[in-house]
Symmetry: C2
Subunit: 280 residues, 2 copies
């Protein structure tokens, strides 16, 4: 059991009802997802403001600090206190963060939703990452994962306009499911949960509804996860980074369909399963 920082358990409504008028002038009410600012203060110094759904703020902050490499070990974090009243989060570290200003100065505005800004040096790290060559994923497990997502209760089904991310075990059991207005927040929230629970990525499968842009692939790699699945597509850099890392990238995962882009050797193909009718 890894060290657990003192965390608040802040909750806030995730949807809002608004009145709409359709093409025939009919009025009705729909749900839309929340989107709210959360300003992070590290040891009382303002770091950044994240725009988030607000479903898992403490995990989001943990994952943000981890993926931005602002904090090396979770032991360095003493407490995270989220207060939605003031839309702020107080992060207390054990020893402070060295040269924070300098480390947050180099900025990359990325393709990704949500966590659009990443502090520099991401690509430098990629070279240091090795993913397990012997990890395998069965086509049947892939279908189990896609079907689990399909039947998952979600803000998306209720209100749309959010991205979902999930972490699965190698045999297709869902460990975490997080949604946010930006898919990068969802990724970071998963990374935060993994950090908190001491879960390693080497035998896991990561699923996202969002596109597999370079930053998404890099974040998957940072979590040490060999399999990255998406309902959506990928980009040239996402593809290039995955190829460089030997990550298994699967796009367009819906129903029985998928496209394996990189790391095909990790797939255990069971093509006959593609003929099995999907359980409604």
């Amino acid at each position: 059991m890894s060290h657990r920082p003192l965390l608040s358990n802040a909750s806030v409504p995730l949807t809002k009802e608004v009145e709409v008028m359709d093409e025939r002038g009919r009025l009705s009410t729909i749900s839309i997802p929340a989107e709210r600012p959360l300003t992070l203060y590290i040891d009382k110094r303002e770091l950044v403001t994240l725009m988030t759904l607000g479903g898992a703020p403490e995990s989001l902050i943990l994952g943000y600090l981890r993926n931005q490499r602002l904090v090396k070990a979770i032991e360095d974090i003493e407490a995270i206190q989220v207060d939605w009243e003031v839309e702020a989060a107080a992060i207390t570290t054990r020893n402070g963060i060295a040269d924070l200003a300098e480390r947050t100065s180099k900025r990359v505005v990325t393709t990704g939703c949500g966590q659009g800004s990443v502090f520099g040096g991401l690509m430098d790290e990629v070279d240091k990452i090795t993913l397990p060559a012997d990890a395998r994923l069965r086509q049947g497990t892939l279908y189990k994962i896609v079907d689990t997502i399909r039947t998952q209760q979600s803000i998306y089904k209720q209100a749309g306009s959010v991205h979902g991310c999930a972490l699965f075990s190698g045999d297709g059991e869902m460990l975490y499911f997080v949604e946010d207005v930006g898919r990068h927040n969802a990724v970071d929230s998963i990374a935060g949960r993994m950090w908190l629970d001491g879960v390693r990525g080497e035998d896991k499968v990561f699923y996202t509804t969002g596109r597999l842009t370079s930053e998404m692939v890099i974040k998957g790699a940072q979590m040490g996860i060999p399999f990255l699945l998406s309902r959506s597509g990928t980009t040239q850099m996402g593809h290039m980074v995955a190829e460089k890392l030997g990550m298994t990238l699967l796009a367009r995962c819906t129903g029985k369909h998928f496209l394996a882009l990189t790391g095909k050797e990790r797939l255990i193909m069971e093509p006959h399963l593609a003929d099995v009718l999907r359980v409604a």
Copy 2:
């Protein structure tokens, strides 16, 4: 005719062919959109690295400088030279940018795709914006716009995984259409074109395939555009900001369907048109 800075006309492939394997083990080749870094240097000082499709880098940079409020007037920009060989853009200003470091220090990591980071003070500006109350949009014009987008040649149709944005005149003529891996890049590219051509937003209609998050709505408002249309949905903050600004927000615009969320009084409803069969 407004001042035109000296601009390069850099071009680069927007798609790449990659080999994929499907669920039956069949190999084929698909196109994926490009995604490449473009590092901006203002008067030889590094500003930021944008991840972009690369279709309209000069317009993107112009719009970025405008929407981030780094440059007040286009007259202050002497030249923008994009060099894909080194993935860099040299921006030459007439008088330099005062306290650049200070002005780029306060960061908001937004929900939006692509242009995830906005320098502070966006919301402060919102209060100063007024949109024309007398602007009107006919339902028939809305349908003309949606159909124009539907039939538009695009990277999206060819390779997927990009967002499109377009600017239309009040009677539904398309003025600009830009795609990028991040929808905020696409918005900024449109803002850049408008700046370059001296086009005002007050009688225009803005269309995006992406979600109407707070930052998208704020950017539409910064361009002075009263109508914001999306194929997708909106978020609570996008809705709140549009309501505050009295902007007309239309979501789920596909075929004959749409949902008017705010500023309904600007719509000239022609509900009988919802019954007309769509021209294939």
